[in-house]
């Protein structure tokens, strides 16, 4: 199920502005890869290029290659809708659909892409909510609005919604930055569990979190204001946090800047 991602020579633009230059990383299946770095260095931008969400912003475009198991997702015949069905995403702020119930939120991805059949949906909704460690909290109020849940529950609802469509890769853009430590812990546990089935890429500002949940870590940095962000170092998480190869990385993880 899980697929590998090979990024090579990736340049991300907003209009004429080159935001991130020349990124190359290989992401193995069934691993957690963390993107860390100071604000504005382009880690979220790179993450969004991995499922073609970058181009949703007007004027945004990409150069370079992103291969998903050997297939270029920026190939001319590729439909971005299919890419996003294969590569799911969880956003920084929990964003359940406000007009929908908890059940409908989880079922949204399937329903909106044409799956009908009550029995099948029931099954997927329960499986996804169990997968997101939310089932026991909401099983008695599936018909209640999703926006009525707490922030941490909403974020797990969004994860359930993302995994309901059975993606092969799950991208998470600072999924815990709006949550309290207990909800954060719940989501980190969940990431560890999801790793068995999905390839996960997570952007985080929290270096302890990166150290806790990830197998590999990519450190991005902004050389100077107005210049494009770049990938400084990409290695095993243990190595990045114990013996980084680049002095900039060491300065960042020891808290000397950023």
């Amino acid at each position: 199920m899980a697929k590998r991602i090979d990024v090579s020579g990736l340049n991300c633009y907003y209009g004429k502005f080159l935001a991130v230059a020349d990124v190359s990383v290989e992401i193995e299946p069934r691993t957690v890869t963390a993107f860390i770095g100071p604000s504005g260095c382009g880690k979220s931008t790179v993450l969004r290029t991995l499922n073609r969400m970058h181009e949703v912003i007007p004027g945004a475009r990409v150069e370079g290659k992103v291969m998903l198991d050997g297939e270029d997702i920026y190939g001319s015949a590729v439909d971005p809708v299919n890419v996003r069905r294969t590569i799911g995403m969880v956003f920084q702020r929990p964003n359940p659909f406000p007009t929908m119930s908890i059940y409908d939120n989880v079922a949204a991805g399937l329903r909106l892409s044409g799956v009908r059949g009550r029995g099948q949906l029931d099954e997927v909704v329960e499986k996804s909510l169990r997968g997101a460690n939310l089932w026991n909290e909401v099983k008695d109020r599936l018909k209640k609005p999703g926006a009525g849940l707490s922030g941490g529950q909403q974020q797990r609802l969004c994860i359930a919604r993302a995994i309901a469509v059975e993606p092969q890769v799950l991208l998470m853009d600072e999924p815990c930055s709006a949550l309290d430590p207990i909800s954060t812990l719940a989501i980190e546990d969940l990431i560890g569990k999801l790793k068995e089935r999905y390839t996960i890429v997570i952007v985080t500002h929290n270096m302890q979190q990166a150290a806790r949940v990830s197998d590999r870590t990519a450190f991005f940095n902004l050389p100077a204001f107005g210049e494009p962000g770049q990938l400084v170092e990409y290695d095993d998480t243990t190595k990045i946090f114990s013996n980084p190869g680049n002095p900039k990385t060491e300065e960042y993880i020891t808290g000397r800047f950023g």
């Binding site: 499922n51 969400m53 949703v56 007007p58 809708v81 299919n82 996003r84 069905r85 294969t86 799911g88 995403m89 956003f91 702020r93 964003n95 659909f97 406000p98 007009t99 929908m100 119930s101 949204a108 991805g109 329903r111 909106l112 892409s113 609005p145 999703g146 926006a147 009525g148 969004c158 919604r161 993302a162 469509v165």
Partner: protein, 361 residues
């Protein structure tokens, strides 16, 4: 410099300053009213309007003076401007209240079940009797037809402008002309339909021709309000939907439009309220008739065009020839009251729909 700054901004000794007691201002107002009454009785001053202006000005001056001497400059200015803002609100609300009050007062006398359920067929305009049933049917049907065309077209145009047009030249042009259309006088819309529908295409005058003109007037209102509502839908919801692999058209249909539904419905209602009272295009394109005509497509050949409430009011006032107590004038006020009630009911209904369709959570 430093010394002047220090002297002008001294720290207050205590936090509590001297305040006017709460009873003092109502007492002041009452005193001024009583004094002015005496003044108007004794001197040559007279008239209700003069009295109101005199009392208000006297109150404003005295309040400021007293407050200045007791509470100091800042409180006095605060009270002066508070009074000014309240006064402006009163002035703005006054015409609205007066229009409503006057219409109710004038129109209530003629109002009855019979008035609402019979037409003017074979009623002598100079005698009491007759009703507005035919006009209600015409107004409701014409407004409904106009809405049936304008609401889907307007919502779809707004979807184009917000979701697809972006900053393209065509979208900007559409947006510009929507703004222009918002200001088109209703008689111009009527003339356009007259020239296009009746003269060029050869159709006859009918309720439907009137509905077409109303549609032109309603369309920009619906587009503009829907556009504003769609812009309010957070981009994160669209992105969340895209990230699930949902195509754009489905995202708009299932996520964006339901989220904005309450506002869209309100916008459409505002549009309906705007066109229900339009008179000029209906006079031009439909004309008047004293009999019931339920078919809005019936043309001149049928000899029975559709009446509408605004044209009914126009007709009755014409028949009243300046006599405010004539039965025709009373019928006109009754029809005006009915029109206002109709629009209020519609607004209430829209509020109700908006409440049921509102974003849950």
């Amino acid at each position: 410099m430093a010394t002047t700054l220090e002297t002008s901004r001294q720290q207050p000794q205590t936090l509590a300053g001297r305040r006017l007691p709460t009873w003092s201002l109502p007492a002041l107002a009452a005193g001024i009213v009583l004094l002015s009454l005496g003044l108007f009785a004794v001197t040559g001053l007279a008239g209700v309007a003069d009295f109101v202006v005199f009392v208000l000005l006297a109150y404003l001056v005295l309040q400021t003076a007293i407050s200045f001497s007791v509470e100091g400059r800042r409180q006095a200015v605060n009270r002066l401007f508070s009074a000014f803002v309240y006064g402006c609100f009163g002035l703005a609300a006054l015409p609205l209240v007066l229009v409503l009050w006057y219409t109710v007062k004038k129109g209530l006398g003629v109002m009855s079940v019979k008035f609402l359920t019979v037409s003017m067929f074979r009623v002598n305009p100079d005698k009491p009797g007759g009703g507005i049933y035919h006009a209600i049917i015409g107004t409701v049907e014409q407004a409904l037809l106009a809405t049936l065309i304008a609401a889907p077209l307007g919502v779809l145009a707004a979807v184009y402008l917000v979701e697809y047009g972006g900053r393209r030249p065509f979208a900007r042009a559409v947006s510009f002309f929507v703004d222009v259309m918002t200001g088109v006088p209703s008689i111009v819309a009527g003339l356009f339909i007259y020239a296009f529908w009746i003269l060029a295409l050869g159709f006859q005058k009918s309720g439907f021709a009137g509905a077409l003109a109303l549609f032109i007037l309603m369309l920009p209102v619906v587009i503009r309000s829907t556009e504003e509502m769609l812009k309010l839908v957070p981009n994160e919801l669209r992105e969340a939907s895209y990230a699930l692999g949902v195509p754009k058209w489905r995202t708009i249909l299932r996520i964006v439009l339901p989220t904005a539904m309450a506002g869209i419905v309100t916008g459409i209602t505002l549009g309906v309220a705007r066109i229900m009272g339009e008179t000029a295009p209906l006079l031009l394109l439909v004309g008047t008739n004293s009999r019931i005509q339920t078919n809005p497509f019936a043309g001149q050949d049928a000899q029975r065009l559709q009446e509408a409430l605004p044209t009914y009011i126009f007709e009755q006032f014409r028949d009243a020839v300046g006599n405010p107590d004539s039965p025709a004038a009373q019928r006109a006020w009754g029809a005006a009251l009915t029109l206002i009630i109709l629009i209020m009911l519609l607004t209430g209904l829209a509020r109700l729909i908006a409440r049921f369709a509102r974003v849950r959570g």
